[in-house]
Structures are given as C-alpha cells and as structure tokens.
C-alpha cells in the first residue's frame, strides 16, 4: 500500500520552494546547467525543490531539457 507515503509526499512542503514564477523565469538557465552536468541543484536549491513538487513546472523542465540535449547531439 503506497497511499500513506504518497499522501505524505504530497503534503510535505519545502520552505526553499521558490514557486512557479521564479522557476519559470530561471528555467532556461537551470536547464543548461543540468544539461552541462553542472551542480544546478546545489546552485539553485529553491528551483530544484520547486521542480520536484510542481508537476507542470517539472514537466516543462523535462521538455526543455530534452530540447537542449537534442540540440547538443
């Protein structure tokens, strides 16, 4: 049964979470850092926290990362 852990994960909030506006503003910079293998999460922990918690922003990030990586190959 993963219900309790799934509910716990949903209710758990990270005070470092910067919210959608700031994450969206910085997403292109963050995506390039990740694509380059740089420690993006350490540099921008608030954005990393947000992308883990926000489905839509996380999905946008994955899409942008795929686009950046596609261009590199």
């Amino acid at each position: 049964m993963n219900g309790p852990s799934e509910l716990d994960r949903f209710l758990r909030t990270d005070p470092r979470d910067v919210g959608c506006a700031q994450a969206m503003e910085m997403l292109h910079i963050y995506a390039e850092l990740v694509a380059a293998g740089d420690p993006a999460e350490q540099r921008y922990p608030g954005i990393a926290a947000h992308l883990r918690a926000c489905g839509p922003c996380g999905e946008d990030f994955e899409g942008l990362l795929a686009a950046v990586r596609g261009e590199e190959h």
């Binding site: 969206m24 839509p56 686009a67």
Partner: protein
Amino acid sequence: MLVRIARSEVRQRAPRLRITGPELDDLAYQAAADTLVAISGKLGQFRGESRFTTWAYKFVIFEVSAKIGRHFWRHPSVLFDAEDWDRLPDRFGFDPARQAEWRDLLAALHRAVDEDLTARQRAVFVAIVLNSVPLDTLVIELGTNRNAIYKTLFDARRKLRAALAANGYVGDDLSRSS
C-alpha cells in the same frame, strides 16, 4: 526550429490528450506561431544568460503547456467543482483491501479540508486533487496564473499536514523549522 520543438513536446504529452494526428500538429503549429510573436516582444529581455535557442525553446514549452491547459478547459472530463471524495483513496494509491488502516486518516483529511482551509484553498484542492483538473486548466478557469494556484495549493498542503500532524496521523514536517 520552434515548430520542431513544439511538435516534439506535444507528442510527448499526447497520451494524456484525447486528440491525435492532424489536431496534434495543429496545436504544435499554433504554439510555435504564438511563441514567435511572444518572443518578438520579449527580445529586449534576453540577457545572454543562456544560449538564445534555450531561452526561445522555454517559451515554446510554456506555450504548449498553456495550449494543452486550454484544450482541457474546452473539453473538461469532470466538473471543476464536483466533489467525489470516493476518488481520494485511488488518487493516493490506497489499497481498498486495507481500508480499515486508512479510513480514519482520510476522514481526518476530509475534515481538515472542510475546517482548516479557506474557501479558495478548498476549491483549488478539490479541483486539482479530487477532480484531477490540470493546474494549467484551473489557471484559465479561475482567470489567474500558475504561480497563484501553486501558492494556494502550497499553503493548503502545509495547513493539512499540520492538522494531520496535530492529531497524530502523520509525522511533523521537520523542514518547516529549518
């Protein structure tokens, strides 16, 4: 270039959409065209912190998200304000065979939603959690933006966790004190 990124992103998200083939391409072309207009108006905001293409791709991705949100808004599969609390166990993957173990927890959650959330927080919780309305669709329905909805749900999550913790249903959120 923008069309290629838009098509790739639309196809990536296609399994959730009830549209296929030419309609998917239409959505991608519209997103690319609208992005081109948007970028033209934002050129002065590009500060060279990334490659120009990465900056431009970001707006294509955002446009695809917005268009998909609008698609769901035009073709809703459930009413935004419907309240079917029987969905909740499935939403979080609770095992029906072990209902005796989680019945009280979900009853406490329901009570906290009713008693501890503001009307706005409750409406956002019901739409997103109970009714699985995509966040970008709720943005259109409520005439607001993604950040505002996320913040409302963020505050609701924090309140609900505190209520459940106060009654011993979950551990306290240690991250709040860090």
